[in-house]
Symmetry: C2
Subunit: 310 residues, 2 copies
């Protein structure tokens, strides 16, 4: 098997003596892909696997990515092949939900303002927002969106979860426009697919309340960044917190660092201490299944672009 | 009846034509107290009522304070009199619980670090703390402490609530020392009484883990501030967030503004938009009861210094 990426190095102790493990980088990936039976995408932030994917030629029968999103891997040849794709569902849900809940409270209670005032040694009491009874729309009804919804609801927030199609506990995408206009918090936790790319653009921001805060923990290209900046500068919405961006990392001269009301989080909402070990454990668990000929966990529906949830 | 304090002015529209309302300040309080039947302490941050309390002479039969804590009113003459004291129980619980939950997440996820880095236009991914499974000790088992505990538990945090005496769901004060040494989060939401003053001092901080964060939303004098500063500077604990202080407001030259790891919040954790109206409504509800000769709500046990909860 092949591991793509080794920074930080992956520890697969349980596979010692059982699997021949080749660790490769971008340069050696193209020659190894055709001979690999399984591929662990450890460097999940790279586009190299898609670029090197061997078309209809010999290729891994199983690809596992150490990420929740699979958008960087997707190409027609992978979708149409019989290669099984699995992801890291289960590792990021709770941490991301905690992170989003924290963002919501920090914005409602103006923690940033308090820290600014402390820097200026100024005591200034303010009235802040009561969270209970406010409304959140969480776009993305997969495990991460559900965990976010669950956690916000536990804070007394009225939550609408929006998925591609309506089902029990989930509003359909056709209801989104109406929901956006009532939301105090709009949280994007959708997978990046052809159907979701750029879904948060001028129209979506125009529908939101001027007091609304937009939070993106999905993928950068779900948002039309220029439209978000315009909405913030014109105060069509009150604030935004982005954990993901069209281009990561943000360069030091990126204008996004300075947009009023925009908080930059360096793609870390799901990454809690020990996450790399959890990812390695999860892959090894799935490897055990694969070696035993058992069905794999977290199989991505490649046409949908995510692991379907009921 | 007499209202002490009028900044911002209190709106008691429902009492119009029913009660003769005299609004007073510190200078006129001493002459009005002996002739008032009821006193609304609207300026709850002042010590003037205690200072002007008419001893065993004529005095209000009912005092209501627009605050949860009653420590600024307490004096032997009030305690020993038959004057009924009521407080603002019910207004602050949910907002303070939200605030504390936000502080806990903000500290766990290093939001402050992210904001500092944004200011420096630096993209630096970090691993942060997973909240679920961490431990919190909430000191103060009244309605505010309970709301905090409930909210932290909803985030997956293991919560121990500590009260004066052990009872269902509440650990007794004698268990506190042991609990402090295991806690990731130590939250002080106790009433200020002779028994609790200075309870968080050198010994308490010495028992805490070096990774622990201390949060005070109770009253400033519950903490020996110098001992807290020493603990922070020596890194005996990882951080602290104070919403209350020995002397409020903090002066611009107060050294607390600059203590490493100490975040200053200007006594606002419970004060959400509309809180003043809620406080006025609550007083008027109680006034209706008083006028009808019915039992008042939120009667403080003056010897305990708070409204007892089962």
């Amino acid at each position: 098997m092949v591991v793509f990426g080794d920074d930080p190095p992956v520890r697969l102790d349980r596979l010692a003596g059982r699997a021949k493990i080749l660790v490769c980088d971008e340069s050696s990936l193209p020659e190894l892909l055709p001979v690999a039976d399984a591929l662990l995408v450890w460097d999940f932030a790279s586009d190299a696997v898609r670029a090197a994917w061997p078309g209809s030629g010999p290729r891994p029968r199983w690809v596992h990515t150490a990420s929740a999103g699979v958008d960087r891997l997707m190409c027609t040849e992978l979708i149409e092949s019989d290669t099984v794709l699995t992801n890291a569902r289960g590792v990021f849900e709770q941490p991301i939900a905690e992170y989003v809940a924290g963002i919501v409270i920090a914005m409602a209670k103006d923690f940033y303002g308090s820290w600014e005032l402390q820097r200026q040694r100024r005591w200034r009491h303010r009235e802040t927002m009561r969270l209970a009874g406010t409304r959140a729309v969480v776009v993305g009804a997969g495990p991460i969106g559900r965990a976010i919804g669950h956690t916000l609801a536990a804070l007394g927030i009225v939550v609408d979860l929006v998925g591609r199609t309506a089902r029990e506990g989930v509003r359909g995408a056709d209801e989104l426009n109406g929901l956006l206009s009532e939301a105090d918090w709009v949280v994007c936790a959708a997978p990046l697919t052809d159907g979701t790319r750029g879904m948060f653009g001028r129209d979506a921001f125009a529908r939101m309340k001027s007091s609304a805060v937009f939070i993106n923990v999905g993928r950068g290209p779900l948002v039309v960044q220029d439209d978000l900046v315009t909405a913030l500068v014109a105060r069509h919405i009150a604030g935004a917190v982005l954990d993901v961006f069209e281009h990561e990392p943000l360069a030091a001269d990126d204008p996004l660092w300075d947009v009023p009301g925009l908080f930059v989080s360096p793609h870390m909402s799901g990454d809690t201490v020990g996450w790399r070990d959890q990812l390695a454990e999860q892959f090894q668990d799935n490897y055990d299944r694969w070696a035993a000929g058992e069905p794999l966990l977290n199989v991505v529906d490649k046409r949908l672009g995510y692991v379907p949830v009921d």
